[in-house]
Amino acid sequence: MAYHSFLLEPISCHAWNKDRTQIALCPNNHEVHIYKKDGTKWTKIHELKEHNGQVTGIDWAPDSNRIVTCGADRNAYVWTLKEGSWKPTLVILRINRAARCVKWSPKENKFAVGSSSRLISICYFEQENDWVFSAYIKEVEEKPGPTPWGSKMPFGEVLFESGGTGGAAPSSSGGGGWVHSVCFSHSGNRLAWTSHDSTVSVAEGGKTGTVSSLSSETLPLLCVTFITENSLVAAGHDCYPMLYVYDGANASLTFGGKLDVPKQAASKDISARERFKNLDRRASETQSTDKDLNTLHKNSISQMSVLEGGRNQCTKFCTTGMDGGMGIWDVKSLESAMKNLKIV
């Protein structure tokens, strides 16, 4: 497990380049900084300054090497690397509230921007003219083939809706929090989301369209990603990632374990001088109290990304948080370090 403390401020969002040697992140201001890996150190190589508001989303297209950023200033920019520096192109989104998230399409010719004005803008990038024009979701050229979510799939129609009304199952308390993060599994047949009422849910597409939720005993989770078809890792305000296992046969979701490096237990012999020092500093004689965070991240984890292996066989994932730090987690070493942890 590697941890690198980039800043004192929270990292609002981050994105990796294709070979994971560079990371673009927003240090809780209007800029995007790009850091390059130098052995074990990270050096800042670029500062992208164009936004007038906090940058809320970054996505780095792996093949075309373009970066798209969106911000609270209701704008998005597409950045292209020209002669060693990144040049921005403004995208007119025509939204009246902040943009909140952005993602390139798999073919990297379009990207979608989600905003607080309850609109999703799809933007089409024309390479030749270096021109981007956007539209709200209205039409699509090639219809995707039938998937478990529905075979007809008329465009623009909600294929699946969940949460809110208590009609479905009397045992579910009917969902009470907004959704923080959504992730499709690699096959696209399963959709996981975390919401603010401390629950994590998985929906399986198909005729039955089952939804299984798990109410957790922890604080709300802010981000989630599939690491295999059956396992999810989620993290949030409790500052450590957690594993959840989905059993497709029984449509049940269970807690798999806390994924973090346990700190060494405090030594039992404390000298008298230590005791007084601790008493002075924290009104208690022992070094570590329950309130001490013995987790890698010292503040909430706000974003998670898969580094290697994709969402079906993830071997490494990365977390960034409000403590300005970035953690890189190796799935194999987690599995061997934590007893009873099995990633199916």
Binding site: G167, G174, G176, G177, H196, S215
Partner: protein, 150 residues
């Protein structure tokens, strides 16, 4: 910076009220929900079977109803049951509840905190401690984010 001497009343305007696309929650018809059965609960208390009384009082929570009387009556009944317990029995009672039961109990506990009566807060705090061990902070988060409360 210049002092703002003009009225700041505009800050109190709720702009979303004027939005035509405002999302309105579907109101479920809650007229059928009468809350827990008072007679059943009372008979359990009289028999001294407090754990059964707890299970009975947590049935049929008046979550969907807009009738405030039903909610108040339910809360009063719950408080009666919770106060009837001896401190040492609270933990066992909480452990006899399932996850949803613990969440519901937490909701009633916080509702009870809102309007404290003579001894209610002390009793509720004891129950809160045990419910917290069982449900974790997640159960409290669910009390705060629940759109339909008891």
């Amino acid at each position: 910076m210049s002092k703002n001497t003009v009225s700041a009343r505009f800050r109190r305007v709720d702009v979303d009220e004027y939005d035509e696309n405002k999302f309105v929650d579907e109101e479920d018809g809650g007229e059928n929900q009468l809350g827990p059965d008072e007679a059943e609960v009372d008979s359990f208390i009289r028999q001294g079977n407090l754990i059964e009384a707890l299970h009975a009082v947590l049935k049929n929570p008046p979550i969907n109803t807009k009738n405030q009387n039903v909610k108040d009556r339910a809360e009063g009944l719950v408080l009666k049951v919770l106060s009837a317990f001896k401190s040492s029995d609270i933990e066992k009672a909480v452990q006899s509840l399932d996850k949803n039961g613990v969440d519901l109990l937490m909701k009633y506990i916080y509702k009870g905190f809102e309007r404290p009566s003579e001894n209610s807060s002390a009793v509720l705090l004891q129950w809160h401690e045990k419910a917290l061990t069982a449900g974790g902070v997640g159960s409290i988060v669910r009390v705060l984010t629940a759109r339909k409360t008891v």
